[in-house]
Symmetry: C3
Subunit: 319 residues, 3 copies
């Protein structure tokens, strides 16, 4: 593996999950692998879980870590070619990425979408240019359209907590007051579709009309607007807001009735509830669920560490 930007960079997700669980059981076994290797972490947007878990994963592997908050510590990057740089951008991504590639062995990047121009966001222009010009292995710390380390951690969590061989996993849209990216649900959907194809689980998506995700991420998933029907016999409910893909970046409904509480969960198979965090309590998900034993949100966040460590180990092995 010399790139980790989507599930398409993984040949066998079940095997990758098993590797993660082995690392979790024995976290410090590979410290010679990272000796004198440097992980660069570039944040074009803020991060808490992602930075800490990835930093810790690298330290567990014996790596050095250098963090760059480009918005606070750096300057505006030019990403277009063929423009005279006499405006506000100070450095071209061609130089910035190549220079970082000189100092680092592996690069992690976080970059959010603007949610204004769908074609631009879904082209993953900034991301692809960092990959192209840095010349080193790149791991996505969330891009405009995907958050694969989160989805990998989610799958690890499902595998750890499943009580049946082939659990029913439901991605359930939730209300929010701000338009959020589709990156987490896109990624979760494509990882669950792959896991379904590998026979690990059954996957259902439920959301209000107009919140259909792009088809490239949902191939094989059952999709329904009827949340109650979707929840029936669910083993895991993954709660997440996203803005519309079709009417791009828009909030189409306040989502009254879509927030889960313990009452709504009664139709499930004692389902565990998941969320990638940060979560707005009693807007996206009820406090009573978050404070109950049904919630797996902290365990998911904990597994971000092992997801990152597994990916970094694979990337290091390729350098």
């Amino acid at each position: 593996m010399n790139l980790f930007t989507s599930v398409n960079d993984v040949s066998d997700v079940a095997e990758l999950v098993n590797e993660a669980l082995a690392i979790k059981a024995n976290p410090y076994a590979d410290q010679s692998l990272g000796k004198n290797k440097t992980l660069g972490l570039i944040f074009l947007n803020p991060s808490l879980r992602t930075r800490l878990s990835t930093q810790k994963a690298a330290l567990n592997l014996g790596m050095n870590v250098m963090v760059m908050n480009m918005d606070k510590e750096g300057w505006a990057l030019e990403t277009r070619d063929g423009v005279v740089m006499n405006g506000t951008t100070v450095e071209h991504i061609r130089e910035a990425a190549a220079v970082i590639g000189e100092y680092c062995d592996v690069l992690g990047i976080r970059s959010f979408p603007g949610l204004k121009d769908r074609e631009e966001d879904y082209s993953e222009d900034i991301f692809n240019k960092f990959i192209k010009y840095s010349g080193i292995p790149v791991v996505s710390l969330e891009s405009a359209t995907r958050h694969p380390l989160q989805s990998f951690a989610d799958l690890i969590t499902i595998q750890e907590h499943k009580k049946v061989t082939r659990p029913k996993v439901v991605l359930s849209w939730a209300p929010h007051i701000k338009p959020l990216p589709q990156a987490v649900p896109n990624s979760f959907a494509e990882w669950m579709c792959r896991a379904q194809a590998e026979g690990l689980l059954d996957f259902v998506i439920t959301h209000p009309e107009g919140y259909e995700l792009a088809e490239e991420f949902t191939s094989g998933a059952r999709i329904t607007y009827d949340q109650d029907e979707a929840l029936k016999n669910a083993d895991f409910v993954y709660v997440k807001n996203w803005s519309s893909y079709q009417d791009y970046g828009k909030i189409l409904t306040s989502g009254d009735g879509w927030m889960l509480d313990l009452e709504r969960l009664k139709v499930t198979n004692e389902a565990k509830v998941m969320h990638c965090l940060p979560v707005r309590r009693d807007l996206e998900l009820s406090s009573e669920i978050l404070d109950s034993k049904e919630s797996l949100v902290i365990q998911e966040a904990g597994n971000r560490l092992w997801a990152a460590q597994t990916v970094l180990k694979n990337l290091l092995s390729s350098t």
Copy 2:
């Protein structure tokens, strides 16, 4: 020790000072203790001395350090329970603290008071919630009402420089143009009162009328409005501004005449002068003192390292 938020977490301050002096004499003896352990440092307010000294202390112990400037790199945390999070707060402290607890073995937190609502500040709500929800040992890097690492470093400094068995230590209020927290004088007072009870020194507090600290911190101290009388035969003078506790957060006087200079020190027993820094020269304390051999301010700052290392060593031993 699995918590360090006040002198009440210490059973014997003289012993702790001796432990610090032993560490100072041999700083790298415990590097196996911190191997593969991670210290998380959360700053809700800026820091220079505290971050550097605590980071260095952790490195001396072989630990990894991850710094989070929540104001710059993170987002607004919700601390109240039972509110629908449809406003400006992005994540609840319940989740934020628990997640950090997944990645770190010991947590350091800095959080300042608002100086508007005394009850709120003195409840140490944010601090106590981080302790409760992170589930790991916590060290205070200064809270709304206390700064115990500073006071511990101050006591180390006094023990190193004392010329008599039981020196007279005076906490002397100083002028300032901004209302400052009571955290440093509160903590200094309760550490000195404890040291007095253990027979290590005699403790006097002097300030203008209206600047009385809360009684819980000053039990056993002699308190006087007469600065000259307080200074008589003093061996150490600890200079610090604070705002009023009674008329909460207010500046009651410009403090004309309260700033020390070498002339004023003549009544002392060749007293050494201390300040926690940062100090505003010629407002809080005269340049002539700061630039003289009477000043211990740099030595105090240096001892912050050994105070932090001693506390971290004790917290690590409990993990």
Copy 3:
């Protein structure tokens, strides 16, 4: 070496370059030298290349690194003596520097000029006070008037890529829309003048009238306003904008015709083109050169690492 702020701190630049090339060939040979040593990096201005390369250099030497972004994580420092600090400055540089000296073994500082008051900028007041009051070895990460790590990296790059024994090196002024410091050209000039004196190369400076650098940096250089004449048979062309030293901090001309492209390079001896980065494409330097094999800008940035590691190794040897 216990200070690195200009070429004047170096006794033999050819020897220092050879030392750098030996370190580049064997980067991890000196890790015991930096064990339990801490490098403090103070940024009064933002940095990307400098922070990453210096941090990596320190890690290669086994050092710990603590970064302080004073503008974001700290507070305003007072640098004047004899003022009552009742304004916006929170701490005096006398205390700030001395405290940092308590926690660090080597100190790196970046500070830019204001470009308003030439005498003030060229006095290097902030820089000199950090040196004086920190009491530890200091390395310049770019000061108001010099950027010696950059120039050292440039000389390494020239030595690596030269095809003749004594190449012709040309410093060629370039257009820009903002007034930039003279630090990079000053430093480049004094390093090249020294290298010329040591017989390593021939050095020519070309710029529009009014852009003369201060004479203390250009002793021995040939200076001409005729760019085409300067470029003739050049082996290396170092492109850089700077604002006027004489009419201090001013932009005197838009610089039409001064930007290089491949056509203009035809009179050279297949010259390699250099720039310290960040570079504004098609304003300072044409994209066609930057994307061609003639460009050495990425290699220069890469060599920043070895320049920093060589200097840190020398500074460590003196602690």
